[in-house]
């Protein structure tokens, strides 16, 4: 879709579709808890619905899919370092847990 002005103008149906999809995805993620899935299935479903919802909000409601690549990259790439941070803290918390189990609970 090409836009000649700085303005973002999209058909009403696009917004209504995405709105509906967000509702469906919210119901699905709630159902994960309601049905009571456990373990890996639960976590993967939660993450899948979460990422789909986040993607739809950023891409369509926040108009990122219609922006030029320069701003999309400048905004969407930096949060990638948070994945690294999360990984580091996961290792750290695992170490803390092992230390607590070893030295505090005996």
């Amino acid at each position: 879709m090409a836009h000649d002005q700085a303005q973002q103008q999209h058909p009403l149906s696009t917004y209504l579709w995405i709105w509906g999809l967000l509702f469906v995805l919210s119901v699905l993620s709630y159902m994960v808890d309601y049905v009571g899935f456990e373990g890996l299935l639960r976590w993967s479903l939660i993450c899948l619905f979460m990422l789909l919802k986040a993607g739809l909000i950023i891409a369509v409601f926040m108009h990122m899919m219609w922006e030029r690549m320069a701003i999309a990259c400048a905004i969407l790439i930096p949060p990638g370092v948070l994945i690294v941070f999360m990984g580091l803290m996961a290792i750290e918390s695992n170490y803390t847990l092992i230390a607590r189990l070893r030295f505090l609970l005996n």
């Binding site: 509702f23 919210s26 939660i46 690549m69 999360m86």
Partner: protein, 235 residues
């Protein structure tokens, strides 16, 4: 506002990426500066919320005590049955509804449809206020059940600290958003955006791009809730 060059001069895709960043004056073509600055603010806010969620992950993964079961803690009694996470589910739907009305407000703003934009902005503010009200109810319920930042009746004491910090900071964002929605709705109703009247605080000329910039903030608040809902309430 940027000097927007003729569209034919701008290349799409990856070659556009390099030429935009290599160009003079402004890298973000076809983006009003207010919107670019809002995006950069939201980027910094992403890091703040991520730090809260990652510290919650660290606390939860390193405690030797069981974490309280959110499904039960946030359940509500409806008649005889206990419905898990009911209040949180309703809050999620309220916030998603408000995100939809905000997206439509932006659309009608660009069509210069004053009455529809104003109505949708007021509706968004009402849904936002409903969300904050339900959050206040949730806090009251949990505090009366004995949840404190240093302990709770069900398990790991860090639960309260993570809960109050994360939902409190998010609720503050929603509250600020509601205030700005009311301010923007007032501007739209007065016709300040059509007449390009300067604002009382910054003196910037009114324009309908402002509705989109405010919309970015509001969608971000919804976006953060998506992550809080997944990691704090469902996990």
């Amino acid at each position: 506002m940027n000097q927007v060059p003729a569209t034919s001069a701008l290349q799409p895709g990856v070659s556009g990426l390099t030429s935009d960043f290599a160009s003079d004056q402004s890298a973000f073509k076809k983006v009003p500066w207010g919107k670019a600055m809002m995006w950069i603010f939201l980027l910094s806010d992403t890091f703040v919320f991520a730090c809260f969620l990652i510290s919650y992950m660290t606390a939860r993964a390193s405690t030797t005590v069981d974490w309280p079961n959110a499904s039960i803690v946030f359940g509500l009694h409806v008649g005889e049955t206990n419905v898990p996470l009911l209040l949180i589910a309703i809050m999620t739907f309220v916030l998603i509804s408000s995100s939809g009305t905000m997206a439509l407000a932006v659309k009608y703003g660009y069509e210069k449809n004053r009455s529809k934009t104003a109505t949708l902005l007021v509706l968004t503010a009402l849904l936002g206020a409903t969300f904050v009200g339900m959050q206040a109810f949730e806090w009251t319920k949990l505090i009366s059940e004995g949840v404190r930042p240093w302990g709770n009746p069900w398990g790991a004491p860090q639960f309260g600290a993570a809960f109050f910090m994360i939902t409190g900071f998010h609720g503050t964002h929603v509250t600020i958003g509601v205030i700005f929605l009311i301010v923007m709705a007032t501007k739209v109703i007065r016709g300040a955006l059509d007449d390009q009247r300067p604002g009382f605080l910054t003196g910037r000329k009114g324009r309908y791009e402002m509705v989109e910039t405010l919309g970015l903030y509001w969608h971000f608040v919804d976006l953060v809730w998506v992550f809080i809902f997944a990691f704090f309430y469902l996990w």
